[in-house]
């Protein structure tokens, strides 16, 4: 599959502060590419560099096989973006807002085109209403319409679910899936709501403090080997001591009282051995959601290295 975005050793410094450091990643055609990281990890800075809003200190960005710096207009003509909150012109109607940005994208604008886009995001009935009167969800949908109106190959969404209610988040998720599966778009989506990414991304990168922690397909990264198991007992201290002297020691999470990262298939054996060791279990919870994985990566450097290798 062809690489749509190829980022190599990208860096951005603000004085002594390094926002992004030697970041390299690849987004392939048709990917829904999740860009994950905690707040301040460098996601937005990277995305703004992809859109030429911020100039990199070092590194290169190639999009559609062309160097971004030298083919900016050509690349942006095929790119649509929603960057954080899509704050539009509040004193203009949804139709006028869309019309302005469509014209700026360099396409021929017709009433039908604009109304079709508004219909796609469910705003055709309120096309004449001023953006100032829109809810956050409606603004977000209008932002999506602005990003899609010129039929881009690549869509970049920076925290698109910010400020949305649960229904809005579900609608956004469905729209992204539709864009990818039905319309064949390549989507880059950044978020700190990892459960959202887990449901829609095909590939993802996790960054922390401006550096890549891991990159790969979501299926790979959600490998059962990365299951987190939380145990509650009547005597946690004694149980931990027991585990530390057993083969389970290697799976113990250092900072958590009784949490292990292990292959899900081994959980029954663990329970059996704890019961055999006279441990009175109150609960055993296992999960391998991306959120747990993400948290383990970004809070436990030792595991980061293990997975990255």
């Amino acid at each position: 599959m062809a690489a749509i975005i190829q980022v190599t050793n990208l860096a951005k410094n603000y004085g002594d502060f390094t926002a992004v450091n030697k970041l390299s990643f690849t987004v392939n055609e048709g990917d829904v590419y999740g860009f994950l990281g905690q707040n301040g990890a460098g996601k937005s800075t990277t995305i703004r560099m992809l859109l030429t809003l911020i100039k990199p200190t070092a590194g290169s960005i190639n999009i559609f096989g062309k160097e971004l710096q030298h083919h900016r207009s050509e690349i942006l003509r095929q790119t649509g973006a929603v960057i954080e909150r899509p704050d539009l012109y509040k004193y203009l109607s949804a139709y006028d807002n869309l019309s302005i940005f469509a014209k700026m994208s360099g396409i021929k604008v017709t009433r039908k085109l604009l109304m079709d886009q508004l219909q796609l995001v469910g705003l055709d009935k309120v096309y004449n209403k001023k953006a100032a009167l829109f809810s956050q969800g409606m603004k977000q949908r209008l932002g999506i319409a602005v990003a899609l109106v010129h039929d881009p190959r690549l869509i970049i969404l920076d925290e698109p679910t910010n400020g949305l209610d649960p229904q809005g988040i579900a609608d956004m998720r469905n729209l992204i899936v539709r864009l990818s599966k039905e319309m064949g778009k390549t989507v880059v989506i950044s978020s700190h709501l990892l459960s959202e990414i887990e449901q829609i991304a095909t590939r993802m990168i996790i960054i922390h403090k401006g550096e890549k922690v891991v990159e790969g397909s979501v299926d790979e990264l959600l490998d059962p080997a990365h299951t987190l198991v939380d145990i509650q007992t009547t005597n946690d201290a004694a149980t931990r001591q027991l585990l530390e002297t057993s083969r389970w020691k290697i799976f113990l999470q250092p900072a958590k009282p009784l949490q292990l990262m292990m292959n899900k298939d081994l959980v029954p054996a663990l329970i059996s051995e704890l019961v055999a060791g006279n441990v009175q279990l109150l609960s055993v919870n296992s999960s391998h959601s991306l959120e747990n994985y993400f948290l383990s990566l970004t809070t436990q450097p030792g595991y980061v290295e293990a997975f990255a290798n």
Binding site: R48, L51, T52, L53, I54, K55, R72, S73, E74, L76, R77, T79, A81, I83, E84, R85, P86, D87, L88, Y89, K90, Y91, L92, D96, I100, F101, K103, M104, S105, G106, G143, V146
Partner: protein, 297 residues
């Protein structure tokens, strides 16, 4: 570029703030016209007292539309920079404040194009503002007060001087004066645009523009030789009122005025060139700064 400019003008036309300037001008002009209609004679008496030379004329006829416009422009062109700053200082900072700047710049539009278009839009707004002044201060005054020969009171050093411009020699001077004022106010628009690049809301650049104009105007009016020589020639505020030069008519040795003449055209031309140079430098600086700016808003 034309498409971008159309978009910019459309946005300006849709903003309620745009019309504040037009309403303010109409209000100020109306107050002047009402005051002069009610008691213009007192003003004339006051001005005649300060004039050194003897001058005989019909004081009622002297308050005509041409004279009124001159009086209004004398006052209003000092305040109009604030009205120009209201729109121009919002050019970039307003977009940053609304969050639309990042959206604009993620479109296939170059930053240089955007600055030039913003500047062009601010200039067109300035032209419309002056056209509105021409309609209200000149045309409306002509309707209310009629036409006639125009009196110009002038302070030259410690002396006051009265000049008479014949009715058929006035209108071209107004065209030229409004054109000059457009250039002068465009410097303010360019300055506001430059300042707006550094801010994320429009209040800061508006206040900064007004402060710069006030400080520079004060310096321009300080009559100290060292400032006259070394600072004033470089301040744009020294040339803002250069439009008055079009009403300083040339005179013969016997003191009679020469129709169609200007007292000092080279000085006006020099002032215009200096203002244009200011515009070039400030817009150039705006492009340079904006091209390097990281958009973090």
């Amino acid at each position: 570029m034309w498409r971008l400019l159309q978009i910019e003008l459309f946005k300006i036309s849709k903003r309620p703030r745009t019309y504040i300037a037009f309403i303010a001008i109409a209000a100020i002009v109306s107050i002047f016209q009402f005051a002069f209609k009610a008691d213009g004679q007192s003003y004339m008496d006051l001005m005649m007292q300060s004039a050194k030379e003897e001058f005989t004329f019909d004081r009622v006829q002297a308050i005509n539309g041409y004279f009124m416009c001159y009086i209004i422009l004398n006052t209003l062109l000092i305040q109009v920079p604030i009205l120009v700053a209201l729109i121009a200082a919002d050019s970039i900072s307003g977009e940053a404040n609304m969050g639309t700047l990042r959206l604009l710049l993620s479109k296939p539009v170059s930053r240089t194009q955007l600055i030039i278009v913003k500047f062009a839009a601010a200039t067109i707004f300035t032209v419309f503002l002056l056209l509105w002044m021409a309609v209200t201060a000149l045309l409306l005054s002509i309707v209310i007060f009629g036409t006639g020969d125009m009196l110009v009171f002038r302070t030259k050093g410690e002396d006051s001087q009265i000049m008479l411009i014949t009715q058929d020699d006035v209108m071209w001077r107004y065209y030229a004066a409004f054109a000059y004022a457009t250039v002068a106010l465009t410097v303010i628009a360019a300055l506001s645009l430059l300042l707006s690049i550094f801010a994320e809301n429009s209040i800061g650049p508006i206040i900064a523009t007004v402060c710069i104009v006030i400080v520079c105007t004060i310096i321009s009016n300080i009559n100290v030789p060292v400032i006259d020589r070394n600072i004033k020639p470089f301040l744009f505020t020294s040339y803002l009122v250069g439009w008055k030069g079009f009403f300083y008519i040339g005179t013969r040795p016997d003191g009679s005025t020469i129709k169609g003449s200007l007292e000092n055209w080279p000085a006006i031309r020099k002032s215009l060139l200096i203002l244009l140079a200011h515009i070039g430098v400030i817009v150039g600086a705006s492009v340079l700064v904006f091209r390097r700016k990281d958009i973090l808003s």
